[in-house]
């Protein structure tokens, strides 16, 4: 009978022991974690992983790819030199401020969106309607600073091109 079963490779016994040890501890804490509202907690535990892997990550990856393609198309149309070392020259100037602004929104979404406004204002005695404005200001500074850096860089490149001797080699 046993011979009919496909052989299942076991893998490293040390690894198995460590994993068994880890599962035992996780189960000990896990039954306590799930003690009150097991379904809700399990949904959250698995849900945050799924939301991240199947929603957030694909979303920002697609957005980033679209932005890179868009900028690439603009660059080609303007006819900037496609030197490999400079090929990502202008992409970061949009990508970095957009991603940083998105990161702040992601982390502070409850405050920025105002969804906890009442509890926050009532509890802490602090104004709750300031976070959206602050986030927008930070976003403006990030994009503005990036635009300034890009402008300076373009200016430098243009100057360098002007001063370069016309004869090559």
């Amino acid at each position: 009978m046993l011979r009919l079963l496909p052989r299942v490779p076991i893998g490293s016994p040390l690894q198995l022991l460590l994993l068994a040890c880890s599962f035992a501890l996780a189960a000990y804490a896990g039954v306590r974690l799930l003690a009150d509202d097991w379904l809700g907690v399990a949904l959250w535990f698995v849900g945050v992983a799924l939301l991240h892997d199947l929603v957030l990550l694909p979303l920002y990856a697609i957005a980033d790819r679209a932005a890179v393609r868009g900028l690439g198309a603009v660059r080609r149309r303007v006819g900037a030199p496609p030197t490999p070392s400079r090929q990502w020259g202008r992409v970061p100037y949009v990508r970095v401020p957009a991603a940083l602004s998105g990161l702040l929104l992601l982390v502070w979404f409850p405050l920025i969106s105002g969804m906890v406004e009442r509890r926050y204002r009532f509890g802490t005695g602090l104004p709750a309607d300031v976070f959206l404005a602050r986030w927008l200001l930070i976003t403006a500074v990030l994009f503005g600073g990036s635009a300034l850096l890009l402008a300076l860089r373009l200016l430098r490149l243009r100057r360098a091109a002007k001063h370069r001797p016309p004869v090559v080699h």
């Binding site: 299942v8 490779p9 076991i10 893998g11 490293s12 690894q15 198995l16 460590l18 994993l19 068994a20 040890c21 880890s22 599962f23 501890l25 996780a26 000990y28 804490a29 896990g30 306590r32 974690l33 009150d36 509202d37 809700g40 907690v41 949904l43 959250w44 535990f45 698995v46 945050v48 992983a49 991240h52 892997d53 990550l57 090929q87 990502w88 992409v91 970061p92 990508r95 970095v96 991603a99 940083l100 990161l103 702040l104 982390v107 502070w108 409850p110 405050l111 906890v116 509890r119 926050y120 009532f122 509890g123 802490t124 005695g125 602090l126 300031v130 602050r134 986030w135 200001l137 930070i138």
Partner: protein, 428 residues
């Protein structure tokens, strides 16, 4: 080349030609095309997280101990903890900034690590879809363990980030969720470190790119170098740090914490203007109960019960202490100058002259997790532990606990009970 920006021409990349053999499914290695992914990138992020998460775990356990959960059921939000409370100890009162530092590090570092965590998860996402699902029994179990690792990490970060913003949408009380969640996560984290750390260190030592399933077989044209990507992740961390850390200091530094819940500015001005955890209105404190005529402090102990009006309290010897308010949510104030009656003098009033015992403190507050709290004998005995009546030279404001509040060095904010109504001295 691990360390250098991605080099060389990418043969598989055809810019204007449709890739007819392009893999459509994320389970195929060619689906993932970023040239950034590789063992070096993942290893650098992994080592940063190893150090960072270890600090988070330790400061988290220390923070848990600071509540003295083994002292009294009112302090214990996790009565079923069993052996997970094996390390608990009597929380000290020295140095007086201990909890402030610990909790500031825990929350601020946690927020700062978010970009690193996101980048690490991004760098290994192809493995989530890798086929076959398992090459061996050990590999199958490791993949299950990774669900606990990733789910656990995200669960801990999400509950923490939501809790500091008072967004209590998670299923249950924060304390048990974050505490037991930490242990589930730590179980998976520890085994992950044991299994992967040797390879991660090898990846960093050997500068050549090892063959790895993380390296895309048909990489796209690079749009950033690996170093550039790391700088970008670090920049994200720096931005979060810069807009958060200021909520642990009064004055101009607090104004720099633009997006942190207790950053930006203080709720008021003057001696009582500093940060408030819960206002009197939020706690449901009725001004009629705290008035000169209505309020009595009820102190019970070995020799019976004493009822004190506020003016009677003021006739007891008053002492000063400069102590901060430090909240579990990772914000704190600088030292405030409190003035009031020593807790050990109150203990002496009810028969504990030289041996101050534990004390059970009850607030006028009608609801709330810590409206009743217990302090340990060492906290009662500290000469800086006060039933404060004044702060910064002025009477306490209603929001800071008028007519009287507890202030104990190094104790978590919620154990510094406001609107104190009753104190019962005796071994708990």
């Amino acid at each position: 080349m691990g360390r250098a920006p991605f080099r060389g021409v990418v043969p598989a990349y055809r810019r204007n030609m449709r890739d007819l053999d392009a893999p459509r499914l994320p389970s195929s290695p060619g689906f993932w095309r970023s040239p950034l992914r590789g063992p070096w990138f993942t290893s650098v992020l992994g080592l940063v997280l190893l150090v960072g998460i270890t600090v988070l775990f330790v400061t988290g356990l220390v923070s848990y101990a600071a509540y003295n959960p083994d002292l009294s059921p009112v302090n214990d939000k996790t009565p079923g903890k069993g052996i997970l409370g094996f390390y608990l100890f009597a929380w000290p009162t020295d140095p007086h900034w201990l909890y402030r530092l610990n909790q500031g590090v825990h929350v601020t570092l946690g927020i700062t690590l978010i970009p690193v965590l996101l980048a690490k998860l991004w760098s290994v996402v192809p493995r989530l879809f890798a086929l076959p699902p398992a090459r061996s029994l050990a590999h199958a179990l490791e993949r299950i363990s990774l669900l606990l690792l990733v789910g656990g990490a995200l669960f801990q970060f999400v509950t923490g980030v939501l809790n500091v913003q008072l967004d209590y949408v998670f299923p249950g009380s924060f304390y048990p969720l974050h505490f037991y969640g930490a242990w589930v996560f730590f179980a998976a984290f520890a085994v992950h470190v044991l299994l992967r750390l040797p390879a991660a260190l090898r990846n960093l030592r050997h500068l050549r790119e090892e063959r790895s399933d993380l390296v895309s077989p048909r990489p796209a044209e690079p749009t950033v170098s690996r170093r550039g990507a790391l700088w970008f992740v670090g920049g994200g961390s720096l931005l979060l740090l810069a807009t958060t850390v200021g909520q642990n200091f009064d004055g101009p530094l607090r104004r720099t914490a633009l997006l942190a819940p207790h950053g930006g500015g203080d709720p008021g001005s003057g001696p009582n203007g500093f940060q408030i955890n819960k206002t009197a209105a939020y706690a449901g404190i009725d001004a009629a109960e705290t008035g000169e005529d209505a309020w009595r402090l009820v102190v019970t102990g070995r020799t019976g019960t004493v009822r004190l009006r506020r003016d009677e309290l003021l006739r007891l010897p008053l002492y000063s202490a400069a102590l901060p308010i430090a909240c579990v949510e990772g914000w704190s104030t600088s030292d405030q100058w409190w003035r009031g009656v020593r807790l050990r003098d109150l203990a002496a009033l009810v028969g504990y002259d030289d041996d101050p015992p534990d004390v059970f403190v009850e607030s006028l507050q009608r609801s709330g997790a810590f409206r009743k709290a217990a302090l340990r004998a060492n906290q009662v005995a500290d000469p800086r532990s006060l039933l404060a009546l004044y702060v910064n030279g002025e009477e306490l404001s209603p929001d800071h606990g008028h007519p009287a509040r507890i202030i104990v060095p190094a104790a978590p904010g919620v154990l510094n009970t406001k609107w104190v109504a009753r104190m019962t001295f005796g071994d708990l």
